[in-house]
Symmetry: C2
Subunit: 390 residues, 2 copies
Amino acid sequence: MQNFDYMTPTRLIFGKGAVDKLSEAIRPYGKRVLLAYGGGSIKKSGLYDKVKMLLADFEIAELSGIQPNPKYDPSVLEGVRLCKEKKIDIVLAVGGGSVLDCSKAIAAGAKYDGDVWDLITGVKPTQDALPVADILTLAATGSEYDGFAVISRTDTNDKIGYFSPKVYPVFSILDPELTFSVSKKQTAAGCADAMNHVMEQYFTGDTTLLNDGICESMLRSLMANARACLANPEDYRARAEMMLACTYGCNGILALGNTYSGWPCHGMEHALSAYYDITHGEGLAIITPHWMRHVMEKAPDAVVPRLVKYGVNVFGIDATLPLREIAEKAIRATHDFFASIGIPMTLREVGIDESRIAEMARHVVEGWDLKDAWVPLSAADVAAIFHASL
Amino acid sequence: MQNFDYMTPTRLIFGKGAVDKLSEAIRPYGKRVLLAYGGGSIKKSGLYDKVKMLLADFEIAELSGIQPNPKYDPSVLEGVRLCKEKKIDIVLAVGGGSVLDCSKAIAAGAKYDGDVWDLITGVKPTQDALPVADILTLAATGSEYDGFAVISRTDTNDKIGYFSPKVYPVFSILDPELTFSVSKKQTAAGCADAMNHVMEQYFTGDTTLLNDGICESMLRSLMANARACLANPEDYRARAEMMLACTYGCNGILALGNTYSGWPCHGMEHALSAYYDITHGEGLAIITPHWMRHVMEKAPDAVVPRLVKYGVNVFGIDATLPLREIAEKAIRATHDFFASIGIPMTLREVGIDESRIAEMARHVVEGWDLKDAWVPLSAADVAAIFHASL
């Protein structure tokens, strides 16, 4: 069991009507709020008006139009400029993980005088940041309960994972009813993203009985509740359980004491969505079964036993079968689950062909340390996984 | 699923050699430290000398002799007096849950000018507290990761559960090697305490697939690792996993969104240890199977299905048996596990007879709101459970 140093100080305000606690929760942080959001969905749903009403006695500046795979230019740069110009006290993200990630980068940039890209890439340390808070409208990334942000730069095809303990949200308002209107496509992609967060911490060399059990419970819960949400988008209990499960994805609590896995599927998917701007959760779902098969062939002694445990405990595969057969069935079950919730399961279906695979694979291994992954991956391995995923 | 408002801001510094981070971790909080501890065990183990060496450039005041079931008088009162006299900046608990609980009460009392008992009982709100930190030497209570303290008053036979968000430890240093020297008796009692924390949140009316799975994993892990610790007290991995599992016991994370269970076994046990000063985990282990049987008879429609789920998923009882038989086997398995780790499983064995049962039962229902428990309990119910536990 590995040493660790862990903290997640975020306050989770969860449940029906949780938005009503916004004024009370935000007041200690100051009067000037940057309200950050994406497209028009929060206006259509009425959430925008509600937030404006609850913050009637605050000074609000707005940053809208934050896109999926949030962009450094213009969103982060424009947000930083607004924060400095308006002397903003706190950044309030209203939306999904992309809006929240963008807001974290803005909060850090607002307290920095140099080139903000140096903070994102970690070339310069984040010494300070404005407080960030959020009202979440999509269960997926776990950004509401961690210190991570993923920021994309279109001019260089970079999609960078940024981390600072300074950007944990001070509070996250999680009302499952706000996710009733999430489309089937985004519900499925959110489930796949959250499942991948769990799997990427579960598939590693040194784990505990405790963490394994928690991860397996999380996966079973995400699958059952995603199915229920797709069957009835207004199933409160299912939306609530999805929302809660997603919060645990990336703050490390699922893997305390585990060896670091390397998060290889995230590394590979970031290249796919940086080059092609696809939906992150769909990219993950497509490549994950192929990654499983590739690493199983490469390092069967390590991978087969983990796939067996996963297959038996998550999918209920008969534990008396030959180990290799259980492992094969576990990979198949992973693919089939994602397909069953409507995810397109080939790269071609999301508009990716072989033309840039070699370039993307090089980009992955340059930007992501996959030689220290549980099963180390070279550019050739990554290219092979991409080809298998076509 | 119920609404909740959750936060656990404590930093967990976990692993071999974690104590070496003490100076770095404590420095931001000030120079004057109240070092609180129990009997001589930390002197015998060398931990006391190590802490003094690591804090060589701090000003240290000491409070020693904190007992199990920590006492309001003299420990809390003496600690408060010392904090005020020495203008203490932070209280550092070195020991188990009792030392830590006492330190939390001291930290709150040090910032209060009235009668500290009014804070403990909640008659007055805790507006402020000194920061508290700890170096844990016993895996059991979860106090290292929550805002609770249990304080006993011998003159009134009160054992009061105190809570304030002001007394979450700012950091907890958790080195599993510090628990190598914990006796078999205390290892078993710690396991029983931690298991009860899980069970008291698991046995309730409205739970989620997610929380149920996490709780079941936690129980399986605690049982397997307690056995391993008893077989080899220096099994690092087992001690580490026990220590990690125990941290999750009482901060609420196991039951986010569940209905409140009422924590009935803790309510009942607090009377036992207030009147007889027994080991908390042993008292819990003794009464828990009898509580299970009593509530199963009283409310079979609610209780049998939960016992079945618990029996199948925690103890691996054959799911094809008749439900009532699975429930009976689950109760028996609970008893047998506690007995197998060496816990005396009757009240008489820990020195309690029937003479004060009626008085204790009244005390329980006066001090603990068991009419709102999952299965409500009257004084007569409590007395019956105590009698069955003799």
